[in-house]
C-alpha cells in the first residue's frame, strides 16, 4: 500500500511529504459538524427554538409543580405543625436538623451566638408561635442574615425543626445570649 502513495518532491531538512488524500471519514465529520452548526444556529436564532429564559422558566415551573405535589405547597400547614410538635419522633428529627443547619449560628443548645437565643421568652420576629417560627425559617430575615430555608429543607425537615425549636423555650442553657426583641408572655 505504501508503495502506491505518491511522494512529493518536498524536502525540508530531510523531511518528505506524501500526497495522500484527506481521509473520507475525517471529511465526513468535518462536514457533519458544519451542517449541524448551521441547523442549530437556524433553529435557535432564526427559527422558533426556545431561548435560555424560556427554558429556565419551564424548568422552574416544573420544580413548583413538584413542590406542590410533594406536599409543602406555598402556605404553612399549622395542623401539621401541631401534629409534629406532639410527636416525639419528629422532635428528635428536628433536633438533628437543628444541629446540622442552625447550631453554627444559634449555638448547639440554641443559647444564641451569631443569631439570637431561641430559648428565652423574647422574640425579634413574630410571637414565637409555631406559625411565626415557621415563617422566619421558611423566608429568612434578609437584613439580619437569617437565610431562607424553604427551598433547602424538605417539608418534613422544616416542620420538624420548627417543632423542635418551639420545645426549647425555658431550657435555660449555659452562656445564654442576652434577650433580644419583645417579651412574649405565656
Amino acid at each position: 500500500m505504501e508503495n502506491k502513495e505518491k511522494l512529493l518532491d518536498h524536502d525540508y531538512d530531510g523531511i518528505k511529504e506524501l500526497d495522500n488524500p484527506l481521509p473520507g471519514w475525517w471529511l465526513a465529520t468535518f462536514y457533519g459538524a458544519i451542517v449541524f452548526a448551521a441547523i442549530y444556529f437556524f433553529y435557535y436564532h432564526i427559527g422558533n427554538g426556545p431561548g435560555p429564559k424560556e427554558e429556565l422558566a419551564k424548568g422552574l415551573a416544573e420544580f413548583e409543580t413538584m413542590s406542590a405535589v410533594g406536599g409543602s405547597g406555598k402556605g404553612i400547614d399549622v395542623d401539621k405543625l401541631n401534629a409534629f410538635f406532639h410527636d416525639s419522633g419528629r422532635i428528635k428529627d428536628g433536633g438533628a436538623v437543628f444541629q446540622l443547619r442552625c447550631a453554627s449560628c444559634h449555638g448547639v443548645n440554641a443559647e444564641g451566638n451569631i443569631g439570637p437565643n431561641l430559648t428565652d421568652k423574647f422574640w425579634i420576629h413574630g410571637d414565637g408561635s409555631l406559625a411565626a417560627i415557621a415563617k422566619v425559617v421558611t423566608e429568612g430575615v434578609g437584613d439580619k442574615g437569617m437565610p431562607p430555608w424553604g427551598a433547602i429543607l424538605k417539608p418534613d425537615e422544616l416542620y420538624s425543626v420548627v417543632a423542635y425549636v418551639k420545645t426549647l423555650k425555658g431550657s435555660n442553657p449555659a452562656n445564654g445570649k442576652a434577650p433580644q426583641g419583645n417579651e412574649v408572655k405565656d
Binding site: E2, L7, L8, H10, Y12, D13, I15, K16, E17, L18, D19, N20, P21, L22, P23, W26, L27, T29, F30, A33, I34, F36, A37, Y40, F41, Y44, H45, G51, P52, K53, E55, L56, A57, G59, L60, E62, F63, E64, T65, M66, S67, V69, G70, G71, S72, S104, C105, N113, I114, G115, G142, D143, K144, G145, P147, A151, I152, L153, K154, P155
Partner: protein, 715 residues
C-alpha cells in the same frame, strides 16, 4: 558565521540558544509542577495552607498555571522553534543579540511573576494575572521574538515554508494580538491596575484570550513541533501534505471563535454563546486532522515506537491531543456544559492536554534534542522508559480521579427530589464527597513529577557526559534565487508557501476576521441598555474590599455567576444579569466552584458570620475546605489609595462624582466605623475598623445587593 564558497553558503546554526531554552524548560517545568502538587494537596487538606498569605491556594494557583504555561511550555516552544526553524529554513537565527535578549528577558519575566503572584499582585484574570509592568515586558519580549523569527524567515535558504513554520507564524502573530488586547489596563499604582473592560465584556475578552492562549500557546506551536520532530525521529514522510493545508487553515480560522464556550448558560448574550458552541464542534475535525497526520506518519514504524522513548512520548502526546480535542467540543455542548462547568471534569480535561499533550511532546522533544545538541548519547534509555510509564500512570490516575470528582459533584449539584427540593442543598456536602479524590489526584500528579525528575536527572547526566568541545551543527545550502514572479507562478498553496509576507497576511486576516466578528459586537453594543435598572457603583470601602477579594484569588474557587439553569437558580437565587457586573473591572464570574457561588451572598449571613468564616471557616461551616484568612484582621487597610482607585474606576467608566473620589478615604473610614460597630454588637472583637477584614466583609455583603430593582426570577 556564514562564509561563501562560490554559490554555496556554509551555515552554522545557533544551537547555544536552543540549549539555554532547553535547560530553562527542564528547571521551570519542575517548579511549575511542584507548585501544582502543593495546591493539589491544599485542596485535599486545608491545613497545608499553613495560615500564611503568600502560600495560600488563591495566590499559589496562578503561580502554578503561569509557571506551567509560560515558563515550562513557553521555554520549550522557544527551544523547539529556534532549533527546528533554523534547520527548516537553512539559516542561522536572524540575530544572536535578539535571541539572547529574548532568552534573558523571558527568564526575568518568569522570576518577576514568581516574586509578585505570591504577594497578591494580580489583575485577577486567569492566565493573565501578571500586573501591568510585567504585561508590558511580555509584549516587548514577544515582539523581540517575532522580529527574530520573521528575520530568520527573511534570510532563509529554503524557498518554501514547511507546515511547522506555518504553525509558528500563527503562534507569533496571534499570541501578540491576544495578549495586547486583553492587557489594556489603567494603572492605580505600579503593581495595581484595572482593565478597561467590565463585566460581561471583560469576560468575553478574557475568554477569547484564555481559550486562544490554549489554542495559540499550547496547541499551534506544539503542532509545529510535532510536524518537525515526529518525521525526524521516525524518519518517515509526513502522511498527507493536503491534510496539513486543510487542517492548518481551518484550525487557525475556527479556533478564534470558540472562546465563549467558557461562558455557556451565563449572562452572555445567547447568540455569542451559540457561536462559541457551534465553532467548538466544528473545531473537532481540524484538530483531529493534526492527530491523524501525526499518527499516520508513524505507520510502518510502530515497532520503533515500542523501543524508542522519543517516539513513545511523541506518539502518546498526539494520542492525548486527540482525546482532549474530542473532549473539548463535547464539553462545549450547552447541555453537557451545564453538568461539567465549574467542576473538576474541566480540570481533568485541561490536564489531559497539558500533562499528556504538552508535557509528553516536550519530553519527547527534549529526549531528541539533548543528545543531539550536546553531541553525545542519552545517559539511560531505561530511565526514559521508566519516565514514560510513571508519567502515563500519573496522568491516568489524575484524569480518572478528576473525571469522577467532576461528574459526581455536577450530578449532586443538580439533583432535585420529588418535592422539587435540592437533594444536596449544602454545598459542603458535595465537597466532602470528592475530597478523597483530591488525595488521589495529588498521588497522580506526584507520580507524573517523579517521572519528570527522572528525566531531569537523565538529561543533566547526558549533558555532563558530553565532550568538552561543543560546536553547533553546520550545513551547506544555496541562497535563494527565485524571483517573486517565479514563485507566484507555481500556483495554488505552493506559491504562498514560498511568499511568507503573503502567507502571514492571510493568517492575520483569518485571525482578525474571526476575532472581530466574535467579540466586537458585544464590546460595541450598549449591552446594559435593556431597561437600565439602577445599579449603584461600589462604595469606597467596597472597592477596597473587592481588591482584597481579587488579591486573595477568591475567584479561583468561587464563581459570581448564577447560570440560567433551574438547579442553579434553586440553589443560589435568580440568574445573574449583565447589569449586575457592569461596574466590575475586572469581572469576577470565575470558572470553578470549589466553594459555592457568591453572586448573591450579600446579606445572606450576618456580618459577624463573615468575620468568623474568614478567621476559620469551620466554625460556621463544619467540614469546609477553605483556608483560614487570619491576616485580614491584622493587616491595616490602605485608606489613602482609595481616591486614586475611584479615580481610575471613573476613567474606565464607573460613574463616580469628583466629590465621591475626593472624599473616598473619608467615606471609607465612615463606612468602616459603622460596620465595625455592628460587628462588635454581634460579638466580634473591637478595633477592626481600620483592618482589611472590614473592607472584605463590606464587599461580600454588597454582592447581589447592587440592583435597586429586584431581579425577576425568570431572568
Amino acid at each position: 558565521m556564514t562564509s561563501e564558497v562560490k554559490d554555496i553558503d556554509i551555515v552554522q546554526y545557533d544551537d547555544d540558544i536552543v540549549k539555554k531554552f532547553a535547560i530553562a524548560t527542564l528547571i521551570w517545568g519542575f517548579v511549575g509542577m511542584l507548585v501544582g502538587i502543593i495546591v493539589a494537596i491544599q485542596l485535599a487538606n486545608w491545613r497545608f495552607n499553613f495560615g500564611l498569605p503568600w502560600i495560600t491556594f488563591g495566590r499559589l494557583r496562578p503561580l502554578h498555571t503561569n509557571a506551567a504555561i509560560f515558563a515550562f511550555a513557553g521555554n520549550a516552544i522557544f527551544a523547539g522553534i529556534y532549533h527546528s526553524s533554523q534547520r527548516l529554513l537553512k539559516t542561522r537565527l536572524f540575530s544572536d543579540a535578539l535571541s539572547n535578549i529574548h532568552f534573558w528577558g523571558w527568564q526575568l519575566i518568569i522570576v518577576s511573576a514568581a516574586l509578585t503572584l505570591p504577594f497578591g499582585f494580580t489583575v485577577g484574570k486567569e492566565y493573565a494575572e501578571l500586573e501591568l509592568p510585567i504585561k508590558i515586558a511580555i509584549a516587548v519580549i514577544w515582539v523581540v521574538f517575532g522580529v527574530n523569527f520573521f528575520g530568520t524567515i527573511a534570510k532563509r535558504r529554503e524557498q518554501h515554508l514547511y507546515v511547522a513554520i506555518w504553525f509558528y507564524i500563527a503562534t507569533v502573530i496571534t499570541v501578540a494580538v491576544l495578549h495586547i488586547v486583553n492587557s489594556v489596563n489603567i494603572p492605580v499604582s505600579i503593581l495595581k491596575s484595572y482593565p478597561v473592560y467590565a463585566g460581561l465584556q471583560d469576560g468575553l475578552v478574557q475568554w477569547w484570550y484564555g481559550h486562544n492562549a490554549v489554542a495559540f500557546f499550547l496547541t499551534t506551536p506544539f503542532l509545529g513541533l510535532m510536524y518537525y520532530y515526529i518525521p525526524k525521529a521516525a524518519n518517515r514522510p509526513v502522511y498527507s501534505y493536503r491534510l496539513s493545508i486543510v487542517h492548518f487553515w481551518s484550525l487557525v480560522f475556527i479556533y478564534i471563535w470558540a472562546g465563549p464556550h467558557h461562558l455557556l448558560n451565563t449572562a452572555l448574550p445567547n447568540w455569542a454563546q451559540t457561536l462559541g458552541m457551534i465553532f467548538s464542534l466544528m473545531l473537532w475535525a481540524p484538530s483531529w486532522g493534526g492527530m491523524i497526520n501525526g499518527l499516520l506518519t508513524l505507520r510502518g514504524c510502530w515497532d520503533k515506537v515500542r523501543t524508542d522513548p522519543i517516539l513513545k512520548f511523541l506518539a502518546a502526546a498526539v494520542t492525548f491531543y486527540g482525546m482532549s480535542t474530542f473532549e473539548g467540543p463535547l464539553l462545549s455542548i450547552k447541555s453537557v456544559n451545564s453538568l461539567a462547568h465549574y467542576t473538576d471534569w474541566i480540570i481533568a480535561h485541561v490536564h489531559g492536554g497539558t500533562l499528556g499533550w504538552n508535557g509528553f511532546m516536550i519530553s519527547g522533544m527534549l529526549y531528541y534534542l539533548v543528545p543531539r545538541l550536546w553531541n553525545t548519547k542519552l545517559y539511560s534509555v531505561k530511565m526514559a522508559n521508566f519516565h514514560f510509564w510513571t508519567g502515563t500512570l500519573g496522568i491516568a490516575i489524575y484524569m480518572l480521579s478528576m473525571w469522577t470528582a467532576g461528574i459526581t459533584q455536577g450530578l449532586m449539584w443538580r439533583a432535585v427530589d420529588a418535592s422539587g427540593h435540592l437533594v444536596y442543598p449544602d454545598f459542603v456536602e458535595t465537597v466532602m464527597r470528592i475530597v478523597p479524590l483530591y488525595y488521589v489526584r495529588a498521588v497522580g500528579g506526584t507520580l507524573y513529577l517523579v517521572g519528570y525528575v527522572v528525566m531531569m536527572f537523565n538529561l543533566f547526566k547526558t549533558m555532563a557526559n558530553a565532550p568538552a568541545t561543543q560546536r553547533s551543527e553546520t550545513v551547506r545550502a544555496k541562497p535563494l534565487t527565485a524571483s517573486f514572479g517565479e514563485v507566484a507562478a507555481e500556483g495554488g498553496h505552493r506559491s504562498i508557501e514560498g511568499l511568507p509576507a503573503i502567507f502571514t497576511t492571510l493568517v492575520v486576516i483569518a485571525v482578525l476576521v474571526a476575532s472581530i466578528i466574535s467579540i466586537v459586537p458585544t464590546l460595541m453594543s450598549p449591552a446594559y441598555s435593556d431597561g437600565m435598572p439602577a445599579i449603584r457603583p461600589y462604595s469606597a470601602l467596597e472597592i477596597a474590599g473587592r481588591d482584597i477579594y481579587v488579591r486573595e484569588g477568591c475567584y479561583l474557587c468561587h464563581s459570581q455567576q448564577i447560570r440560567t439553569l433551574p438547579f442553579d437558580v434553586l440553589r443560589y437565587g435568580p440568574a445573574s444579569t449583565p447589569e449586575e457586573s457592569m461596574y466590575d473591572h475586572p469581572f469576577q464570574w470565575g470558572s470553578k466552584r470549589i466553594g459555592p457561588d457568591l453572586a448573591r451572598v450579600g446579606k445572606k449571613y450576618p456580618d459577624v458570620w463573615h468575620y468568623r468564616h474568614m478567621m476559620d471557616p469551620r466554625t460556621v461551616t463544619p467540614n469546609s475546605i477553605m483556608p483560614t484568612y487570619g491576616w485580614l484582621e491584622k493587616s491595616a487597610l490602605d485608606f489613602d489609595i482609595i481616591p486614586k482607585k475611584l479615580g481610575v474606576m471613573k476613567i474606565v467608566g464607573v460613574p463616580y462624582s469628583d466629590y465621591q473620589i475626593q472624599n473616598g478615604a473619608v467615606d471609607a473610614h465612615h463606612e468602616a466605623e459603622q460596620l465595625a460597630a455592628r460587628l462588635v454588637e454581634q460579638g466580634a472583637p473591637k478595633g477592626l475598623e481600620d483592618k482589611e477584614i472590614i473592607a472584605l466583609i463590606a464587599y461580600l455583603q454588597a454582592l447581589g445587593q447592587m440592583s435597586n430593582k429586584p431581579a425577576a426570577t425568570t431572568n
